[in-house]
Subunit: 341 residues, 4 copies
Amino acid sequence: MSETSTKQRIGVLTSGGDAPGMNAALRAVVLAAEHYGMEVIAFRHGYEGLLNNEHVPLKGADVLHVLQYSGTIIKSARCPRFKEVESAQLAATNLDSLGISALVVIGGDGSFRGAHHLSQHWKGQIIGVPGTIDNDLYGTDATIGYSTAVAIAMDALDKIRDTADAMDRVFIVEVMGRHAGFIGLKSAMAAGAERMILPELQKDKPLTIAALVKHIKRVEEVRGAGSYVMVLSEHQWPGGAVALSEQLEAEYSLPCRPCLLGHIQRGGPPTSSDRVLASELGVHAVELILQGKTEVMAGIKAGQMVEVPLVDTWTKKNPLDANLLRIQHEIFNPVKKSARS
Amino acid sequence: MSETSTKQRIGVLTSGGDAPGMNAALRAVVLAAEHYGMEVIAFRHGYEGLLNNEHVPLKGADVLHVLQYSGTIIKSARCPRFKEVESAQLAATNLDSLGISALVVIGGDGSFRGAHHLSQHWKGQIIGVPGTIDNDLYGTDATIGYSTAVAIAMDALDKIRDTADAMDRVFIVEVMGRHAGFIGLKSAMAAGAERMILPELQKDKPLTIAALVKHIKRVEEVRGAGSYVMVLSEHQWPGGAVALSEQLEAEYSLPCRPCLLGHIQRGGPPTSSDRVLASELGVHAVELILQGKTEVMAGIKAGQMVEVPLVDTWTKKNPLDANLLRIQHEIFNPVKKSARS
Amino acid sequence: MSETSTKQRIGVLTSGGDAPGMNAALRAVVLAAEHYGMEVIAFRHGYEGLLNNEHVPLKGADVLHVLQYSGTIIKSARCPRFKEVESAQLAATNLDSLGISALVVIGGDGSFRGAHHLSQHWKGQIIGVPGTIDNDLYGTDATIGYSTAVAIAMDALDKIRDTADAMDRVFIVEVMGRHAGFIGLKSAMAAGAERMILPELQKDKPLTIAALVKHIKRVEEVRGAGSYVMVLSEHQWPGGAVALSEQLEAEYSLPCRPCLLGHIQRGGPPTSSDRVLASELGVHAVELILQGKTEVMAGIKAGQMVEVPLVDTWTKKNPLDANLLRIQHEIFNPVKKSARS
Amino acid sequence: MSETSTKQRIGVLTSGGDAPGMNAALRAVVLAAEHYGMEVIAFRHGYEGLLNNEHVPLKGADVLHVLQYSGTIIKSARCPRFKEVESAQLAATNLDSLGISALVVIGGDGSFRGAHHLSQHWKGQIIGVPGTIDNDLYGTDATIGYSTAVAIAMDALDKIRDTADAMDRVFIVEVMGRHAGFIGLKSAMAAGAERMILPELQKDKPLTIAALVKHIKRVEEVRGAGSYVMVLSEHQWPGGAVALSEQLEAEYSLPCRPCLLGHIQRGGPPTSSDRVLASELGVHAVELILQGKTEVMAGIKAGQMVEVPLVDTWTKKNPLDANLLRIQHEIFNPVKKSARS
């Protein structure tokens, strides 16, 4: 790659846990950059690659047909040592020696903290693109990967419903989202789950197994025998779905079966929502560079492209949609009736 | 069913072309009605059932696990004779004799015209819920079924890409949306199509086959041999994808293969987006009844529940998202470069 | 239902763990029975329903469009008390009082033991149809549900591969099949897993964690860094995938993530293989009745319909396909080379 | 690549229409070759690449994670000029100059004719691997890609059923298989179609539109109103599903909607059956080379690996499964009753 090119050169990396749609975002960054006459250099394995100077030029032809795949073709990694001052300085040196004037970081809050740390030691522009299935970033209505994770959890819950209905049984499906119940809430509503155990619902009044059993029994009274499917956000019960299931069976003779979806939620073809969102945000990131912006995340609010200070993305909190929570937890809860009824 | 019940009684029907998520909307209407102490009566086969007095009571237990299925458990139909005054009068009589004070109509613009017509002859409340894959209703950012139709079109395009790439070939996939390019635009972007032929892009300057062939050739020059996948909205080429494909082969010796998705776009499990949207809108419809509203459609704008006058839904126009159009048609178009580049 | 009909009357039930394709088998039994002029009575909830006389007539129209769904529309159940003599006698009385001359039992080995027990106390014909995801019945090359379970496990493994590749990580996916590695072997091969831990491979020489870590390291040496995906049959490691994953991380500092598919493997639309197999076996069961056969299971061997004594199905053993095992465990194992090489 | 290696060197190519699972077969060939100490050279774009000397070495690491994708990573092509003597001679020269002693051809009957033609002019071993969705090769119970094509057609039919049921409508889905009804028969049975129009059923008595309409009406009489879904093999009606649909509407006022699946049937993740079959056949092809075989196709019969003379694969005929045809066309046909009934 000629170092004497007069074209503006931007860098890009994917960092932290991978999210479906990262490839679509990467593709959008590269295609938009080409459209505007820029060159793109990708660092492999996230900040690790930035420190190790593991880089590769990316052209449109390299990314044309990657948007249908999850994962990230430039690989991702966690990089704890990036917190050190020396790391940020080394990264800055590497970026400068490649003639890179702006860096696009596709990742979640940890990646954005890294980007902020780098900005203290590097003069180039830094733009974040929200890539995380957890949807827990302030400043955007949706993060890349969230829609796909919900779709996969919903599909698992649909499958469980088939067998749960055949046997009139209780099931627990553990989904991702340890700090936020986004995946749990939306997949529970989409699949018509009887119960969800989310961080937000546990905060003030942690669930007891007795209360859970009481709900199971009440639901059966109200609507007759049938299946009962629970969505459990990770880290909301000691030992997770496996332990909770064993306890229900041991302590209450309630036959119950667990599923632990784990990283299945990060794979498969991204949903159209994630691909379109990633495409919009990737283009927006490049256009923010053209506008001279820095230390912002490209986001979407009410269908419009926005930018939000990187620091806000993890210092402020993205709450669950209050209306969804109300509908799923109250209106669709067979044991809660309106005072009016 | 006792006619002496003191509970408020509402009616519901699904009308016109079915849309994935109609069952989820129906379920939400029933669960919300039960929550608020109302009774629900469903009319089968849309307005036909309303005229024929073909009705059935629906309780929560009847609709608990229907939201994962497309179609509509209460069936739909087209009903041309509903335009007559006598039909609206008969419908009003039937509704009154059942003690129904409000009617929820789940459907598209034709169904809402019918609802408006009925409102001229019936004193009850009428609430519309937007159920159509075409997304062509004013007043809501999304209609129920649109997300699923896009997902299915995208999945077909992904499959075509596999084989198109293996053979470096040209393909045309015909999708629904004769009056509006919503499905075409979003599926084209989601699948990274090389070209889309939409009503909105044809309006001022209809596409010629020569221009199309020129684009195909230019794309090959710019990025080398490879696959070229086109999305064609229905009714945008005489004879559709089959005819266009034959012409390309006959007139330009360009091997090309067509697919006609047709009603496949209306089936399969609805996406989580459609199920969640349908759930929200179904509940919202019931709450609009409680608020005394009538002749409005329950919609979503910028993530918030809204209501819009029924008449507006078909007299005003819902434009394509300008940013998506710009990105897919210009930024991602390999033969268009920014002046800057 | 008239007891004076001159038509032959057969009973049918689904028993034990449900399997995808049971509905297709049920449909085939009903359609074939109608074709041959018989009546069908279904017992709900397996043997429980037979004891409780919970029965329902089934006609073609009732089962036309059920073959695309998993689960079983006539519900299944486990029924431990059916082992008692009194149960078999009660079942015989119920069958006789309904004028049923033959019973089709769709289920696995437990269900067939029940059928055999019943045959000691009832004079009617009994035909088994193999419905279990485990594929562990002697006398048939495939059981109904096995293909779908493999497909679901493979899909999960594909998703895991996406994220495993992005991070170059180790993953464990726990699948069903505690006594037999059918699902494990076939899904491992279909998804290109690096390792499988199956009952058949553990029998002589149980796996140690040290040997497992050694394999992981050797694979990395041979082919470079990358993802490593393991398929673990249930009950092959104390505490399953969750425990094994924790041990790898705690004892060997090897980051590893578990998934526990559980009953997800029993849901979703059955594969075409399962639907076609179920259709063939259901028809075959009815034709075996017409031929006067009893106490046999309808099976498929080398593409041909066969019958096998019910007792053989659980007393004899269905081994894993030796060629598949050899290919996946040796030929595709990067650390095993042929002596020739 | 060193020409002085002492390792045996084999060539591989994919030819003709691509089929899902070709990548899995390619992977199996490469992994088996490595296992046995051979080198593999792939020719890109089928015979075209063989003539143009467009080749690339393939190692295990290159193909590890390709089995989940349709298409073919070494591309395929049709190559009409390969029929000429000069082409076979050029191919032989190219193979010899690369030190290749055996060639594996993955494709259908056209590709095997090409292989046979080559064998007249080249002394090396030639092994065929059946890769075609049409399943129309003699000597193997299944070809690679057939299972996936059936799965995709079935999925489309399932989706059509949803909307057909909602509107009680008639639909026609056109599937691949112009010379053989394999995809049509199996997808029709798997999806419970009311009618199939296959080459084998048309041979003696071509279908008339009057007979078709009569069947539609009779089915409605027998089982009441409902959906009616037809599977139409390509080239079995002039103008295909689109024309037949228009005729039904124009001539008989029977509302009907067409779908044309086209090449969608060749894409998406291959089924587990196709991946496992491709893995077995790919390994078998390499082992046939080791055994000194030539001009044979690796096949599967009754679950066992077999070889069949290449010439037989297209000179002899693979009939439809008679039992499946009987079941779907007679037993499951609501208007045909057994004489017994």
